[in-house]
């Protein structure tokens, strides 16, 4: 088995993001246009029909396939691909775009992630009702399954999750396009109504509508778009077993994150992620998912997340700020868009354009999605040199 690297073969030269939220008055096409045209402008592209060679889109709620994106943007007579991989969809769409450029097939590619869950008439994610045996399945119920075991082994509890929620609520107030702009207290977190123990309302991501986009291009063309391209250092998406039937799962971590980290750190030549990475966007679909990811990504040792949370390592101003824009928790979680929204935030951070939430001197940034039961993890690492 051999695995290569994507390091420094592809650059991100433009990013865009629609307002995230309950966009009652916007169609998916409206959000796609907002995100893509912002990314065009960011890349200095004023003739996208000529400059964009191919499109990779990601969505899990859309029933319309890649046509929804190409029709919204009037990008015809080009290859258009739709990717669907649960919550890893956005990172996977980005990965497919990067692969196509690295393979030399296209010069410049548009990546669009989007979803419109708020047209379904329900609050929160779907309860899966497809099969007999798959019930009951709620995402909170899937991701909560590590709690009893992790709390039992490492002594952590709901108050540790609360600190993550408070942090992400604070960060969301600093991001112009975030959905929720409201600080919460540990007490509010503790008293919120229960969704799936130990997750109360404030442990759960805000499901919203939204779209995000990135323009990527060949390394040697990058500076023809702008002087400060952001380089792809590594990107991967890794599949894992269904943890609900995996006979060796310990319910102390989610296996795909560790595997994906190994692959992407190898690509990016990272051997000390805690020191080498300055800013990270982690998949906080639920607070515990963010907590486990600190450990599974090697930001701290297994079982040590609690003390690192308490000392503020992952807060803005801390040693390794995580979810600087509020994360899924408050920026919002339109499933297919989320991975691309993280690319958007990391690009702003690496260019020094993140305003009040800027991490000073950030050179390497990581974004992480985990989705399914969870059964897939995507990670992208970007750098500014």
């Amino acid at each position: 088995m051999s695995r290569g690297t994507l390091r420094d073969k592809v650059a991100v030269v433009g990013v865009g993001c629609s307002q995230f939220g309950e966009n009652w008055d916007m169609a998916p096409s409206d959000m796609i246009v907002d995100a893509a045209y912002e990314a065009y402008a960011d890349a200095g592209i004023d003739d996208p029909q000529r400059r964009i060679d191919a499109v990779f889109t990601g969505s899990i709620y859309s029933q319309k396939g890649p046509h929804e994106c190409s029709d919204a943007l009037k990008l015809f007579a080009k290859p258009v691909t739709m990717v669907s991989n649960y919550c890893a969809t956005g990172t996977d769409a980005f990965r497919c775009g990067v692969l196509s450029v690295a393979a030399g097939l296209y010069d410049t590619v548009l990546v669009v992630g989007y979803d419109k869950p708020k047209d379904r008439g329900v609050s929160g994610p779907s309860v899966m009702m497809n099969q007999v045996r798959d019930l009951p399945q709620t995402p909170a119920g899937w991701f909560a399954l590590c709690a009893a075991t992790y709390f039992d082994k490492y002594g952590a509890g709901r108050e540790d999750l609360g600190r993550i929620a408070v942090k992400n609520h604070h960060n969301g107030t600093l991001a112009p396009k975030s959905f929720l702009k409201r600080e919460i207290t540990l007490e509010e977190h503790a008293q919120a109504r229960m969704i799936s123990w130990p997750f109360g309302l404030y442990d759960c991501a805000a499901q919203t509508d939204g779209a995000a986009a990135a323009v990527i291009t060949r390394a040697d063309l990058a500076k023809s778009f702008r002087a400060d391209p952001i380089w792809v250092k590594g990107v991967t998406v890794i599949a894992g077993p269904n943890p609900q039937k995996d006979p060796s799962n310990d319910f102390l971590s989610w296996k795909p994150t560790g595997w994906a980290a190994d692959d992407v750190y190898r690509q990016a030549a990272i051997d000390d992620p805690r020191r080498q990475i300055q800013v990270a966007q982690l998949h906080d679909c639920f607070t515990l998912t963010e907590l486990l990811s600190y450990e599974d990504l090697g930001f701290c040792a297994k079982g040590a997340a609690r003390e690192h949370i308490a000392s503020g390592v992952f807060e803005l101003g801390g040693e390794l700020p995580v979810n600087t824009d509020g994360g899924l928790k408050t920026f919002g979680h339109p499933t297919g868009a989320t991975g691309v929204r993280m690319i958007y935030e990391n690009v702003l951070q690496l260019r020094g354009q993140a305003g009040p939430r800027q991490v000073p001197g950030a050179e390497l940034a990581l974004s992480h999605n985990i989705g399914g039961h969870p059964t897939a993890c995507g990670i992208a690492i970007l750098g500014n040199s």
Partner: protein, 499 residues
């Protein structure tokens, strides 16, 4: 001689107190009159599976040649319940199955047919199950009178614990209790008419006819297990038949309730729990006539391992705290919209997965010996392909690997306790029932119960759930601990804080 080889019962632990039905809140530890209620995920079929599994404990399931299922409350108008029950019990594929329906005499009728089949040599062993969850209008007298439950008998001619001696039946046309096409609830004519012209004279006619065939008086009977609409009517029939009070099997009014076609057979199971060898037992049911059967217990009765019978189940109670909860569990509460019925649960997926979903059969890898569920082509552990032997999980026990309490999943009774349960190395995602969240512990032992999982597609869909396993065995009674269980008494928002 044909007779009963084994038996088992099932009574749902959920109990609705008459006081709660009248709007009074339940008080902890209070024990007034009550009835057993099948909860939201139970019905005549799931109760039948539980009773059948209890009757088959210690017996070879492959030896069952036929299954007769009696009920007046089959969940499907057209679709055989017995075939579904046979699949859930993992009986042989060539088992003969039939539903007996439409009459409160369906239970005794099925039992008699089983004795006849064994006596005629057309089957060696027949499993007979009677199960009822009869619908009654909210607030009606019938709602208070009814109870839900099931009973199963394994009938055969090898080592019976009670041999079948004789039967006597009376057919009698009368409109007294009925449920017509499209009717939601059971109807009854004025109760004085029902008892004076129907129940009392007709049941007595059947009992006296049977005693005449036996050539003996009522005084020779050890126990009479008689269907009755109420205590007073029962006393009247006993007197007319010359039965003394101590000969009557306790009809469990105020504890179990009128379990329809399972009523008299359930009393027979209760009688078998306390009978001694050589005693004559009589069981008689009423409904558009009456039917009485006589059996005599044998020395084998004392060799049968303890059963999960009537007393085992009656000792395990979970009071329902409010009448509203009961109405919700029965789909009798007012709602703006009916639940969605068009989410398209695929009948072909159900067909492909019936070994797993209905029989709860997993697969053991012939290469590495590991057990996995559901069925897959490639082994989770050693990656061997297509080299598995089927293995039934439903009668194993397991342990809880991890859990959560899901308040988001739609149910009349949140939260839903969700577990990953390990069964002999296989990991299975299962709901946990018959427990409160605070009872759930990592590593706790569980057994498995066939339940309704949802009604997507507008039909009941069934799957297995975990329930706490009582390692004390079948005869153990833990009324203190179990009576404290309460399907509603959970303050979820505070649970687990400080862990």
């Amino acid at each position: 001689m044909a007779g009963i080889v084994s038996y088992g019962a099932y009574v749902p632990p959920t109990r609705l107190g008459f006081g709660v039905m009248s709007g009074r809140p339940a008080k902890p530890g209070e024990e007034g009159p009550e009835r057993a209620v099948a909860w939201a995920d139970e019905d005549a079929i799931t109760m039948a599976v539980a009773a059948g599994a209890n009757a088959l404990r210690g017996f070879d399931r492959a030896g069952v040649d036929a299954l007769l299922f009696a009920s007046t409350s089959h969940p499907f108008r057209e679709k055989q319940s017995a075939a579904l029950i046979a699949k859930a019990l993992d009986l042989r594929r060539d088992v003969a199955t039939a539903d007996v329906a439409g009459s409160l005499r369906a239970g005794t009728g099925a039992l008699r047919a089983a004795f006849d089949a064994v006596a005629a040599g057309s089957a060696r062993r027949v499993l007979v199950i009677a199960s009822d969850q009869r619908p009654a209008a909210p607030g009606s007298a019938l709602e208070r009178a009814f109870g839900d439950g099931a009973v199963a008998f394994l009938v055969g001619n090898d080592d019976p614990i009670a041999v079948f001696e004789a039967a006597h039946a009376v057919a009698d046309e009368i409109v007294d209790v009925w449920r017509g096409e499209g009717d939601r609830f059971v109807h009854t004519w004025e109760d004085r008419f029902v008892v004076q012209e129907g129940y009392a004279p007709v049941l007595a006619e059947a009992v006296k006819g049977l005693l005449g065939k036996l050539g003996e008086g009522a005084g020779e009977l050890a126990r009479a297990c008689l269907y009755a609409p109420d205590e007073r009517s029962l006393a009247g029939v006993a007197k007319a038949c010359g039965l003394r009070r101590e000969q009557l099997q306790d009809a469990l009014f105020g504890r179990l309730g009128n379990t329809g076609c399972a009523f008299a057979p359930l009393l027979l199971a209760a009688a078998l729990e306390s009978a001694r060898p050589g005693e004559r037992l009589l069981v008689a049911a009423y409904g558009d006539g009456a039917e009485a059967l006589a059996l005599r217990t044998t020395a084998q009765l004392e060799k049968l391992e303890p059963r999960r019978g009537v007393s085992w189940h009656l000792a395990r109670r979970r009071p329902v705290r409010s009448y509203d909860r009961f109405l919700r569990a029965r789909n009798l509460d007012a709602r703006e919209y009916e639940p969605a019925r068009d989410q398209g649960l695929s009948a072909t997926i159900h067909f492909r997965e019936r070994d797993e979903d209905v029989s709860f059969v997993g697969q053991r890898c012939r290469s590495c010996g590991g057990l996995q569920f559901p069925n897959q082509r490639v082994c989770e552990r050693c990656f061997a392909k297509d080299d598995f032997a089927p293995e039934r999980l439903s009668d194993k026990t397991g342990s809880v690997v991890t859990y959560t309490f899901d308040f988001f999943f739609p149910t009349p009774d949140p939260p839903t306790i969700v577990t990953i349960t390990e069964i002999d190395g296989a990991r299975v995602h299962l709901q946990l029932v018959d427990a409160r969240p605070e009872d759930v512990k990592l590593g706790m032992p569980v057994e498995f119960s066939f339940r309704r999982i949802h009604e997507v597609g507008g039909r009941p869909n069934y799957y297995w759930k975990a329930r706490p396993y009582d390692p004390e065995g079948f005869a153990a009674h833990d009324p203190e601990g179990f009576a404290a269980h309460d399907p509603e008494g959970f303050a979820g928002a505070t649970h687990g804080s400080g862990r």
